[in-house]
């Protein structure tokens, strides 16, 4: 639920944007304060009433209020919830049934139990107002647990979605797997590189380079105004690659040289992921947004499958790119060197390969790919913590495919993507990310080196 719902998708410009962001910030504080305080506060007692506040917690744990929902107290009347999701109906002593009109709930939310749309007995007496509760959750399904019918159309659609998720995941997973292969480091911050790509592209899309250097705001695009998404994406990928270069050159290479152990480096990546994520939140704020171009597109039908043109384009691009990466790894000198180092670092070093150079390229290209993955994911939604939410999926993908091989990451990502989307045929959509964990646990039990990995277990 975006605070910007109903407003134009274009974000404000930097200078004048500050005023607006204060307003937004202030409003958010107010709403947040009210939301958190709301559960404990009683209303001023001017006569007795039936009251309440409609809100729910979204997947990230943020509380979102629901305005414009109709509540009816039978025999007395109806009200709609105000901007803070609150409602209040004055009533004389008695017992009432209170009904929430499901039709007036916004899309994307529903009662956690559709049987509780009506509260049959609410007693009000002695001048004490009565608070009522309607538990509301994010999600489309009104009734719990009933998986929708399994038919070919759904299967085909979910397969397409799974392919889409898998392809985009693969872009990030390759870098993660190769960084592990060449340096032995499990990079917990890799998911933030995805977010970085998504956010920088958004940034270039709307501000050009201006946001970074304020006085450029008045200049023409790409310095001043925003640029078309395609160029913005190009800049975003460049930003991604640069971040990868930066992290390796100034943080990890330095740490390697100083003899910092792998576990300590791993903890560093954890710290980095927290640092980056909250810097993102700090600057980008918590609301999800979308890119300025190609935002609302109608879906195109391909037989039983429906995808938007941008999805199809992005998927096609990813396939091409992944094929390109494959070709690169197989045929170019650097590509082969990367594979060699990832497979056996000592051996590669002794055969004359400049390992540090390879590591540098792995970080740059891995981060750039991850950034592009972020752009593709961002076609649906741009959010500060998107990367972190996919961390679990990324780990599942590289574990499944085999830590240390690029092809493994690709295979693993496709399988994970398909698995989580197709799993919604059988289980509640809310749980689909759990499928990724299941995949990971199963693989660790039976083939810990993954599909394409080498056997490196402790004896």
């Amino acid at each position: 639920m975006s605070l910007h719902s109903g407003k134009r998708q274009q974000a404000p410009r930097p200078r004048s944007g500050r005023v607006l962001s204060y307003l937004v910030g202030g409003l958010s504080i107010l709403i947040a304060a009210l939301a958190f305080g709301g559960t404990a506060q009683a209303q001023d007692d001017d006569g007795q009433a039936i009251f309440g506040q409609l809100q729910y917690r979204n997947e990230q744990g943020e509380t979102v209020v629901l305005p414009d929902v109709e509540i009816t107290v039978d025999g007395v009347g109806s009200v709609t919830t105000d901007d803070n999701g609150e409602f209040r109906i004055d009533v004389p002593d008695g017992e009432y049934s209170v009904t929430l009109d499901i039709e007036t709930l916004p899309p994307g939310v529903s009662l956690s139990d559709s049987d509780r749309a009506v509260l049959p007995v609410v007693r009000v007496a002695d001048g004490a107002s009565q608070r009522v509760l309607f538990p509301i959750v994010e999600g489309e399904f009104g009734a719990p647990d009933r998986a929708s019918t399994i038919n070919f159309r759904r299967f085909a659609q979910l397969t397409a979605e799974g392919l889409k998720t898998g392809l985009y995941l693969a872009m990030a997973a390759i870098g993660l797997s190769m960084i592990f292969g060449t340096t032995g480091l499990v990079n917990f911050a890799h998911a933030e590189l995805v977010t970085w790509g998504m956010l920088s592209t958004y940034f270039f899309n709307f501000y050009g380079f201006a946001g970074a250097i304020g006085f450029m705001a008045a200049w023409p695009a790409p310095f001043g105004g925003g640029v078309n998404l395609i160029f913005a994406a190009a800049f975003g990928v460049a930003a991604g690659g640069s971040m990868g270069w930066f992290l390796n050159r100034f943080i990890f290479k330095n740490a390697r040289r100083a003899g910092v152990g792998l576990i300590a480096q791993m903890v560093m990546t954890i710290g980095l992921s927290i640092l980056m994520r909250y810097l993102f939140l700090y600057n980008f704020r918590g609301n999800p947004r979308t890119f300025g171009d190609f935002a609302a597109q109608r879906a195109v039908s391909l037989g039983p499958i429906e995808l938007t043109r941008k999805d199809l384009l992005a998927m096609g691009l990813s396939i091409l790119l992944l094929l390109g990466v494959g070709a690169y790894m197989q045929m170019t000198k650097m590509g082969k060197a990367m594979r060699a180092v990832a497979d056996n670092r000592e051996l590669a070093e002794s055969s004359g390969i400049d390992v540090e150079k390879v590591i540098n390229w792995v970080w740059v290209s891995g981060a750039a790919l991850a950034a592009l993955g972020g752009v593709f994911f961002g076609l649906d939604q741009v959010k500060w913590d998107f990367g972190f939410r996919t961390l679990l999926l990324l780990f599942a993908a590289v574990t499944l495919g085999g830590l240390g091989t690029a092809y493994g990451a690709l295979v693993g990502a496709l399988v994970v993507g398909l698995a989580i989307q197709l799993s919604t045929l059988f289980i509640d959509a809310e749980l689909k990310n759990m499928t990724a964990l299941l995949v990971m646990v199963v693989i660790l039990l039976f083939r810990p080196q993954g599909i394409l990995g080498r056997s490196e277990r402790i004896g």
Binding site: R18, S21, Y22, G25, S28, I29, A32, R57, G61, S112, D113, P135, V137, G139, F141, P144, D145, G184, V186, I251, G261, L262, I263, A264, Q265, M266, V267, M268, I270, G271, L272, I274, L275, M276, R277, Y278, L279, L281, Y282, N283, F388, L391, L392, F395, A396, T399, D428, E430, L431, N433, M434, A436, L437, M440, V441, L444, P448, R457, I458, G459
Partner: protein, 334 residues
């Protein structure tokens, strides 16, 4: 600026419930990582196991609070077994991956709508801590003041119990680590093959360590939710795990008291900084807002930015923390 208020807040925070809960969780993690060399990136999952074990037993099954504690411990044990038995034969990274995945899964599962009748889903569980507060010798609504500390009777009881549990945990860990069991564990942490060649069942010892640290984590979770008198799935998120790691590394892994000291330092520092920022005179506040856009709204986020930065610097420059010794430095493996 009201320094008196700031210091009072800071001192209270230093011995307050967050410190105790996080210190307990960090003691558990210390057993895992500091002593056994296990990479547990899902300690918050153990906290959730304890908390929900308690809450579900009391609230949904209507059984006694004490049985709930037992169940909470039981859930933690089961979780440790589920995670450890398959992965402890493999390389250390795998436990790390599995634990981070499982703690998130627990959170997702527990907040799932379909579990409304078992875990309360996204609303969580309330009304389970009654028995705990019934035996509170302090008067609930009354303030007790001693020195710079001031606590409500209700919170004071939580603190008394909490610090006692903390002491008990420290004692247990201290006793175990000076015993031959602890010695064998230290050996396994450093070189599993050598330990096995000398007849130590490395696998079993690691599983035991995982269970011990997990149970302590579960107790931390139970204490946390009893203090809040409410169990909410989203409080058991991965960032908590990494806060615990920060505290552990700050104090120094592998030392008995360091999780406690680390927790105290961390929380007093955070509370101090946040209160200073909030308490700045208007001129300074406006200045901060216009330059770095720091407002009341995002001071809380600032905390995490500091944590992230702190963790990177700690791991890089002083992985043995404040009290760890370079010789016994736990992070310098491999």
């Amino acid at each position: 600026m009201d320094w008196g208020f700031i210091f009072e807040r800071t001192f209270s925070a230093m011995i307050g419930p967050e410190v105790v809960v996080f210190a307990l969780a960090a003691i558990g993690l210390n057993v895992h990582f500091g002593y056994a060399g296990l990479l547990n990136f899902g300690q918050v999952g153990f906290m959730a196991a304890g908390a929900y074990g308690l809450g579900m037993t009391v609230h949904w099954m209507g059984l006694s609070f004490w049985l709930g504690i037992f169940m909470g411990i039981g859930y933690s044990v089961v979780l440790a077994l589920i995670l450890g038995l398959p992965t402890l034969r493999l390389r250390a990274d795998y436990l790390g991956l599995v634990t981070i995945a499982s703690s998130e899964t627990i959170r997702l599962f527990v907040r799932w709508r379909g579990n409304r009748g078992r875990t309360g889903a996204s609303e969580g569980i309330g009304e389970f801590a009654g028995a705990f507060y019934d035996i509170n010798p302090f008067k609930t609504g009354v303030f007790y003041q001693f020195g710079p500390f001031k606590f409500l009777g209700r919170d004071l009881w939580v603190l008394v119990v909490g610090w006692s549990l903390l002491l008990l945990a420290v004692l247990v860990v201290w006793q175990l680590m000076r015993s031959p069991w602890g010695r064998a564990l230290k050996a396994i942490r450093e070189d599993e093959d050598a330990a096995r060649a000398l007849g130590k069942n490395a696998y079993a010892l690691k599983v035991q360590a995982l269970i011990l640290g997990g149970v302590i984590g579960g107790v931390a979770g139970m204490l946390q939710v009893v203090q809040k008198a409410s169990i909410q799935p989203d409080t058991f998120n991965p960032v908590i795990t990494f806060l615990i790691w920060t505290i552990l590394i700050l104090g120094g892994p592998g030392r008995v008291w360091s999780p406690v000291i680390g927790s105290m330092i961390y929380w007093s520092l955070i509370v101090f900084i946040e209160n200073v920022l909030r308490g700045l005179p208007d001129g300074a506040r406006d200045g901060l807002e216009s330059t770095v856009e720091l407002s009341d709204f995002n001071i809380g986020q600032f905390r995490f930015i500091l944590v992230g930065l702190g963790l990177v610097l700690l791991a890089r420059y002083r992985p043995q923390g404040i009290f760890g010794s370079r010789e016994e430095m736990a992070l310098d493996d491999r």
